[in-house]
Subunit: 403 residues, 2 copies
Amino acid sequence: MSKMKIIQGGVTAPASFKASGVSCGIKASEKKDLAVILSEVPATTSAVFTTNKMAAAPVRFSRCNARNGICRAVVINSGNANACTGLKGEEDAFEMIDKTAEALSIHPQDVIVASTGVIGVPLPMDKVEKGIVDAISLLSKEGHTDAAEAIMTTDTYSKEIAVQFEFRGKTVTIGGMAKGSGMIAPNMATMLAFLTTDINICRTCLRASLTEAVNKSFNMITVDGETSTNDMVAVLASGKAGNEKLILGDDDYNVFQKALNYVATELAKMIVKDGEGTTKFIEIDIKGAKTGKDAKKVAMVIANSNLVKTAFFGEDANWGRIISALGHSGTEIDPETVDIYFDDVQIVKNSIALSFDENKVNEILKNDEIRVIVDLNIGDGKAKVWTCDLSYDYVKINASYRT
Amino acid sequence: MSKMKIIQGGVTAPASFKASGVSCGIKASEKKDLAVILSEVPATTSAVFTTNKMAAAPVRFSRCNARNGICRAVVINSGNANACTGLKGEEDAFEMIDKTAEALSIHPQDVIVASTGVIGVPLPMDKVEKGIVDAISLLSKEGHTDAAEAIMTTDTYSKEIAVQFEFRGKTVTIGGMAKGSGMIAPNMATMLAFLTTDINICRTCLRASLTEAVNKSFNMITVDGETSTNDMVAVLASGKAGNEKLILGDDDYNVFQKALNYVATELAKMIVKDGEGTTKFIEIDIKGAKTGKDAKKVAMVIANSNLVKTAFFGEDANWGRIISALGHSGTEIDPETVDIYFDDVQIVKNSIALSFDENKVNEILKNDEIRVIVDLNIGDGKAKVWTCDLSYDYVKINASYRT
């Protein structure tokens, strides 16, 4: 990993990928709302999807289309989720696939479609279809930021990253873009993220890599405990780096896995940092839980507690709310052995307040990024979850999203 | 039940009960912060306690003291939860019991103690002890409102109720007081509530009645999904109404049960209506779930969704968030059969938006009380849960509670 370096760019950084983003009028604001990613060659592909049972039409189609492990293009609109739109929604999702395939002269089964935005409103298909044609005419190596902008909803900035590393004598690149920023919670694929790479990799290996990367990144973030109807993470591998094909079980598999984890984790953290109304990025670092599963559960209960989140917004060392949250998390704890630290300052030892330095703690709470360490001292289970505070602006953004 | 009537008063309305509330200086605001309820005779007693594993010292002592089914006095302080206070906290909770018993010349085991407020700060016991002596000197039939005020934390008004009904030729009275208003969530005893009655009732019967009343009332409300370290519901029955003793299995058992349910439900609704920062009272009425358990689970996920709650605050008919919440509730649903109504207007049929009358819906959303009916159409499971919206003021209150 010492050789991995961050480079400029996003989803078009790896060889064979182009992208674009246009405004086609789905959003009243006239901001960009339709993106296309194209691989010039059939890309080995894997994707994970929302666990929400009310999965939107595009999710249902993309789940089918991703099954064959090959993809040429991804088409994504923002401003409208095409969820809870019935038969018309299914027709529209298929039409997006079909129109994209037609304009690119590729097979419809090689297109992945995604939508994000308001639920329950039919897509303005005339606008969407024109947008697809426009976006495809603008596909380019430089289009990555336009694409990243075109998938934003309440995001305040676009989220992209690219890294490079040497692998079997070749330079491999991974790029990615993602969007949040409300309805973010664990259980896989809780927002939109599209990862591209030019590594030559077998399908089984890519699927395993994506699962691990998502479990360590997107599944460990939460803004508000909601799991959207629409979200997905997809990875496309063009093979154009020219390395000898990576297959599962290879000794150097971890070189790719670590790089993919890095890209996914950075995008996941960007989503939390741009969480709706967030003013602070908070890492909940659980140690000493009975099991890893318990650790994640405790971390998520703390991270989703409105009382904990508002206390951080208020820069208030109200560790009692952390104690209370873990007490009702439903996991095994010993009420007498909990230690809590804010950054490097211990606040609680054996479940009792220490007489900590209030000034030092107040300084920590003023920071934009805060690490909360909770050691349950009953086992070896660990988990890190990333979340944000709950501010007036979260309420403001969400009280008026639809209207 | 036709004969049940609401009367003036609170916990002192039933025969043999006195109460008082004083300011002893636990709260910096000099508001009342210590309450005592006394039964002139040993009262048959039952109580339920928080399920939070970090249960505070007073909860642990009261759980023991309630076990014998007899109580003479309840002593409650607000402004300090005496939770996460270690050995000193246990000594202090016991001292509150002991001081109360001594001043009243009763047995310590016949005293229930409760605390509510900030976590992790030792009680100022000199003030508390003086407060107990003062409160006991002021015990009276008129003291019910002082007591109800003395248990408030962020509540904006005190919560009391009393009802009367005829039972076996005697007039039976039930009184009650409660406090919220943050950290309100299901799983029993999620706030403080004290119910008194003069009915002559056996202990087993009283325990069964309390369990049912709590399950239908306090366990069906949620403000923010938190379960506090401190909360309890206790009922004391003096027997002074003089009715022939009510025992489990009696034909007219339901007369008492319905009255107790009514008192508990009214207090529970008062808590939600005074939820931190709330501007709207929302009933989530689930029908057609696979089971009653599923219905409650779905109702609670919707009721605790920040996105749903902020939409109601914004008076926004964003039913998509309700659909999304039920999709990730983890219960069985059919994605094609969900119906949603706001009051009497159907918004969604078979999971698809109807072209409803926007003006009529906007009028409904402006109301202080809104009923959301969700029919899953897959079974007979039902549940009603009461919640409130999420406003700027929730954030404001909780961002600065401790400091």
